[in-house]
Amino acid sequence: MDERPLRLITSSPLDALARTVEALLVVASAPLPLEDLAAAADDDVERVEAALRLVGERHSEGRSGIVLEHVAGGYAFRASREAAGACSRLFERPVQRSLSQAALETLAIVAYLGPCTRPEITRIRGVAAEATVANLLERGLIAEAGRDDAPGGAIRYRVTPLFERVFGLASLAELPRLDDFEGDAETIRERLHVVAAQRGA
């Protein structure tokens, strides 16, 4: 492994900026968007991007226990995967208790269709969503996003940056397209038609 990143960090004009980015990331409470990093570092976005590349080289799997990741619309440090065992002895996983099927279906609906209301979730799943929504709110995986426009409008929910972090998504755009799941609409329709046609056969 070469020592280039380390030497660069101590000698080129980008070094100081890279160290500033490291400092910001190590104290931040949530992933920092590029713009926030640039504003705090009081430098321009292009230079901060270059500094992030240096930081990323220095903090990558196998080189460091600290790994830079692009997640939830920003940049953040996490523990290297090789240290997962040690981490699990000391810390809870962000989603320690496994999520129920109801919770995962509700998350999927809110992630794809959000912001959406509890009645909408109920309608899609065909069962009451109250307890599940309360549970996801408590875990911080969904959050309120205003109310429906109608009078007495229901509260709308969206997924949170924590959701993106837990699922390792740089943004919601990384979710597979909903259409890619659509193959079955035809099957269902066909099956229903088969039922209707059976008598004639």
């Binding site: 996490r78 997962a84 810390f91 996983r93 609906i109 390792g168 099956r191």
Partner: protein, 263 residues
Amino acid sequence: MRVAELELDLEAFEGPLDLLLTLVLKEEIDLAEIDVAGIVLAFIEELLGRDRSENGADECELGESDLEACGEFLVLVSALLELKARLLFDDEAAELAELEPEEAAEELARRLAAYRRTKEAAAWLTSRLEQEQDRFFRLGPAPLRPPVSRPVAPHDPAALAAALRVLATPPQAVSLAHMALRYPPLEQFVQRFRSLLAGRSRFDFENELGELSRVEQAVAFLALLELGRLDEVAIKQAAPFAPIRVERRDTERSSAWTSARSA
């Protein structure tokens, strides 16, 4: 086929849509032979059971959102029953079967497809979560971070009054709170139809719907199918959307009925 015979573990399903989807996609199950009414009722029982265990024995009414979910479900499932019912009709069935499935069935297919996509998206999230099990990150603030100051912008006090008004505005949707009876028991309609047929040999289903709500109509229809399943009545319809005629089963026609069912 009764629910018990299907050996369906209702707890294993997320809801009626999940159950129906499974049944529809499960090739080996012939929908015509499934006691859908039984499944619906069993599911309602199941929901009641869940409610009982969550809220204590005193409160066993369905929650309102449960009720709405089930009410809608019943209307949808009646579309499925409509399809199923056609299989039970004897004379006109062959003709009926060639007709385009109607809107309601189309809506059911659409809803099941939407739910199917939701399930697949949930499965994708599950596998993603498994892959990410070895990614640890800090939850909460860093130990030695500088003190935070997050000043709140000045706000107009009118915003508080507006927020309270939002909370004091009743929702637009018609409340179902007046439906004290919640679900009318299926048995109520079964008995009603039986006593009707004790006095005469046939009646028109529509004439009996009278002032019934949509949900009650759905339950009445389920009761009708139940009587058909029990082989107590013959259900006839001359054409789609024509009046549904219910006749007391007489001995001569029971053999025709049996052969129609097994067809």
